[in-house]
């Protein structure tokens, strides 16, 4: 049971991380630095709890906010570049954060940061955050801001001449993505009790991208599904665990060929709606 809870908690945190990648991704910004924002949230909240005795929830919110503010400043140069260059910028950012943390004695440097108060209800808190994200993303889809996100992601130049303020849209998306990653990091730190810079290396950022591409990029259920399934499967098939990056790579190639939009697409959601309304309709009659 404990084992199941632990796997589910990690899956919840990874769902949060996948969503932190997905939000800027909606506006066409691909970030390889989400593990860096996660690290800022983790260390930020850990410092709050350990050094200042701030309670769990505010500590995590502070960690997330710091990551969001950093996200804002990383987002400014990100406005001017696209594609592979943005990937490199965010990759560099993530690594810089990690290297800085390795060298700061105050937070334990390379030896790591021990003694973070353990949160018994990490499972609950991580899924509260997931729930908040579900509400946020489903509201966003129907909102004006959401349409602007979609338009900027679809064609930046076209969105600009329609009258969308692409500067603010992209900055909001990028820094909110940083905030979400920071929250994920905070929950992670208080679940692990101990964090070290190595936990936030760039391969994790790559994983968050894999979750999203595998799960689906058309709708937010996609990355949620991807993160959950790809965290659970290797846990239950221990054999795969050591080969999971290889497995992820192969999965991505297969997906590109068979279903480039990811497992969950708009058609999946529409299909599910149809099926459920048919079942409900039959039940009523």
């Amino acid at each position: 049971m404990d084992y199941l809870i632990s796997v589910a908690t990690i899956a919840g945190i990874y769902i949060i991380m996948a969503m932190s990648f997905y939000l800027p991704f909606m506006t066409g910004q691909i970030s390889l630095g989400q593990a860096g924002f996660m690290a800022i949230g983790a260390y930020g909240s850990a410092v709050c709890s350990v050094k200042f005795g701030i309670p769990y929830v505010p500590a995590i919110l502070i960690g997330g906010s710091v990551a969001g503010i950093v996200g804002f400043f990383v987002g400014i140069p990100a406005l001017r570049i696209k594609g592979i260059y943005l990937l490199l910028l965010t990759l560099g950012f993530g690594e810089i954060i990690r290297v800085v943390f390795i060298n700061v004695e105050y937070i334990g440097a390379a030896a790591g940061f021990p003694g973070i108060p353990y949160q018994d209800h990490s499972l609950l808190y991580s899924y509260i955050m997931v729930f908040i994200l579900i509400i946020f993303f489903s509201r966003l889809r129907k909102s004006r801001m959401g349409r602007a996100f979609h338009a900027v992601g679809s064609d930046e130049d076209a969105a600009e001449v329609i009258g969308v303020n692409i500067t603010s849209v992209k900055l909001i998306a990028f820094s909110t993505g940083g905030f979400i990653a920071g929250i994920g990091g905070g929950i992670f730190a208080h679940y692990q009790e101990y964090i070290e810079p190595l936990m936030f290396d760039v391969m994790h950022s790559v994983e968050f991208i894999v979750f999203t591409i595998f799960g689906g990029i058309q709708i937010f259920w996609g990355p949620m599904f991807g993160a959950f399934v790809l965290t659970m499967i290797p846990e239950f098939l221990r054999v795969i665990q050591e080969w999971r990056m290889e497995l992820f790579g192969a999965l991505l190639i297969i997906m590109m060929i068979l279903r480039p939009q990811g497992v969950i697409g708009l058609d999946t959601i529409q299909g599910l709606k149809k099926v459920s309304s048919r079942i409900l309709g039959r039940g009523l009659s």
Partner: protein
Amino acid sequence: MIKMLSVKGVSSGYGKLLAIHDVDINVKKGEVVVLIGANGAGKSTLLRTISGVLRPSKGQIIFQGRKINGYKPHSIVKMGVVQIQEGRGILARMTVKENLEMGAYLRSDKGAIEKDLVQTFEKFPHLKDRLSQNAGTLSGGEQQMLAIGRSLMARPQLLLMDEPSLGLAPVIVEFILETIHDLREKDEYTILLVEQNANQALDVADRGYVLETGRIVIEGKSQELRDNEKVQRAYLGKTIRSREN
């Protein structure tokens, strides 16, 4: 007639490379004005400078008595200057309906937006049958109709159209130009049009400017441009036709 737009001594381009030099043009309320010129003459650069996508390195752009150069594109759209990009600039991954709704992005008058949607479908019945289709799956002509329909959803005071006939079949080109004619006659829109199809464009325009390597070389009423020998030779293909005869 009231002067709606005046471009005064504007030079603009990409970085240090200027594509237009000291350009002066005027558009009065209710007019259709066409910019004629070869590829690379600077027509699109001029439109994009007016819409704020590019910033002029020199000169002024006055819209309804207000200097608009230096404002960001979204503020300029809000003032009522709406551009239809070359290549139509539709949002390919969004549905036809979402595209039209995005046209009204800066408006908050929901009831009036609904009415404008209905009017758009009257103008372009084709679009109504394709509402939930992805805009990228439309034909070129339908995409251009969508682009025009979407720009009207913003209730523009001045429409900037960048080569609406680009890459379209002759029948569709005719339809698009007819639409432009109707927009001006029935709905009293003011339009600044960039076209390579000089012949047909002069049919619907009141006046025109000829751009050559970034400078205005000829300007005048449509008929005057038609009669101008140089325009005939360079843009209306008269000599080729006479040789054929």
